[in-house]
């Protein structure tokens, strides 16, 4: 049995290696590959992939240090895009990294905020404005919903709310597939 497992592992490695080799030929530099991988990532910058942001994760994928199924915000769409780009098998999202959620944004309860500024440094996209002892607020358009500001808040006044109103999210449904 062991040899079977080993062989299949070897084959998988070869397949992945082939995928990279093909890319390596068509794309001259490592840098371009990282860019193209990064293009497939949702840029939420939430670090759920166990890397400190999307680009570090892209670097890890390019180096073969990480699988393509570790990004919960990207979900199946990202996995699909990466599998097409890299020519590797599209595995389902690895649940240990988290689950896909609808788009959210952070909302500070401005009545509760004590203005401690602790939420500002963790925000990867500078979406929080505020100053010492003053009320803080989230610029909703810039917030990616990465949740990194939630834990540092000493008074738990930051929560996540749906990114857009139901009405903005609505889009025409596909017809019932009766044929």
């Amino acid at each position: 049995m062991t040899w079977l497992a080993l062989t299949s592992l070897l084959l998988l490695c070869l397949a992945i290696g082939y995928g990279f080799a093909r890319l390596g030929n068509s794309q001259s530099s490592e840098e371009t590959l990282i860019e193209r991988i990064n293009d497939c990532l949702p840029q939420t910058q939430c670090a759920q992939c166990h890397f400190p942001g999307c680009r570090p994760y892209a670097e890890a994928i390019a180096d073969g240090r990480a699988g393509i199924n570790q990004c919960p915000p990207g979900g199946d769409a990202t996995i699909h895009a990466l599998s097409e780009l890299l020519g590797v098998e599209a595995l389902p999202l690895d649940k240990q990294f988290g689950v896909s959620k609808p788009p959210l944004v952070a909302l500070i309860d401005e009545a509760v905020c004590i203005g401690c500024t602790l939420c500002i440094p963790p925000c990867p996209v500078d979406a929080i404005v505020g100053s010492g002892k003053l009320m803080h607020t989230v610029i909703a358009e810039d917030c990616t919903g990465c949740e990194l500001c939630i834990a540092p808040c000493p008074v738990d006044c930051i929560s996540l709310v749906p990114a857009t109103a139901e009405i903005t999210q609505w889009r025409p449904a596909a017809p019932e597939q009766r044929s």
């Binding site: 840029q43 903005t168 009766r178």
Partner: protein, 493 residues
Amino acid sequence: MKGGLALSRPANSTIDDQIHTLPLQATYYLPAVSYSRAVLHSQYEPGQSVLRGESIAQGVIAPTSGTLRAQVNHAWPHPSHLEVPTWELEADGLDTALPLAPLAQNVTTQDKLSRLTMAGVQGLGGAGFSTAKKIERVLQHTERTLIINAVECEPGVECDRMLMQSHASSVIEACHALVEWIQPTQTLFAIEDDKQSAIDALTSDKTHQQNPVLTWVTLPAVYPSGAESLLVQRLTGLHLAPNQRAADAGVLCVNVGTVMAIYNALNGNAAIDRLISVSTQDLMHTTTLSVRFGTPLNAVLKFAASQHTGLAEALRLNPTAVQVGGPLSGFSRPIDNAPILAGCNALLIGPSHQSQPPSACIRCAECATVCPANLLPQELYTAARSDDHDVLKHYRLDACVLCGCCDVVCPAHIPLTQWFRFAKGSVAEQAQNEADAALARTRSEQHAARVEQRALEKAVADEQRRSAAAAAKHAKADIQAALARVKRKKPSA
């Protein structure tokens, strides 16, 4: 135009040749979202009184004087069938207008444009584009073309014809005023050949005869000739790139009703109403009403029924469902107090025709024959089903005007237009996601660069402090040494 459908109303159908004005209502409903589903913000507080013509939010004009009530979720005439935050305007019955003076001849373009915005002038074609923005873009070009679009191609939509034949001299005056302002190299007045009564009324107008600045373009009555992108292409030969608007190429294409609204706004009257055709689903009976925006749908239908026995009978048989929009472009909704808005040009009493269950595409290409945009709907259909954006792009989904001609002829009863609406939504959603990701990426890169820069600056500062301290230490030691030397020398001196 290639393709399209020659649609006509039934031979023995009747059209009521009068415009009936709805009496003042007790309550008007003004949605606090735009038709493109953006949430609108306002300075107004509940309980505040407003005058007719007062602008409550971007594109939302009080249709009469009265008191604004708090926003509530209210029915909205949109295919989503969602309820949206809506202001209730309780009419005071006085109908007092906001005093808006007519603009003088010599005011600046900017004054005129802001007047249009303040008076709520927007396209009456459905999407509700701001007319001021459109004109502003056109004025940036030195060579301009003005197209007055009087082509309403769906049978059962009679409001433009009624406007032109009942108010011919005002229409001509409004056209002349717009020509005066825009100064186009040519002005084309596009109208269909089945509107002879309107053409006669306009061409026999004295002002027009004295100063014939309008060039008549009479088109055969084929649906959907009035679709803006198709009309512009047909009249000017201009091929617009995807996402390019006619205005970006110096072509101002405005509906004849909008021309009137522009004229009224410049003369001190805000855009608070429009003409609507009300017909039976079989188009046997049609009447035209002048309806203020925000009037509840059920009140409009009740009034229409009181004016026309054919409509009353139809409403008695179909008391629950109505189609909002023309026979091809409309959608069905329950009869409730959802408000009439700028994009609503017709109401058809009775539920829309039951669609038959679709079967597989037999690749007969009937759909491609009628497609006025020269597309291959059968290929778009396959791509829409698999939600394949590359293929959708290849077959030019963006050029589809959602006219519904392909649906009508498809022998397999495939709801093609519904698929294309879905596909357009899917493509737009992806574009939005990509834009969001690009923004987040730039901001995170800037954030990372700044963090790095700070760390570097801190390291440099630390280093400087260290070497300064070391230097000070050295200096101190040097002084001590010198003093020691001096001391040593002194006793011997």
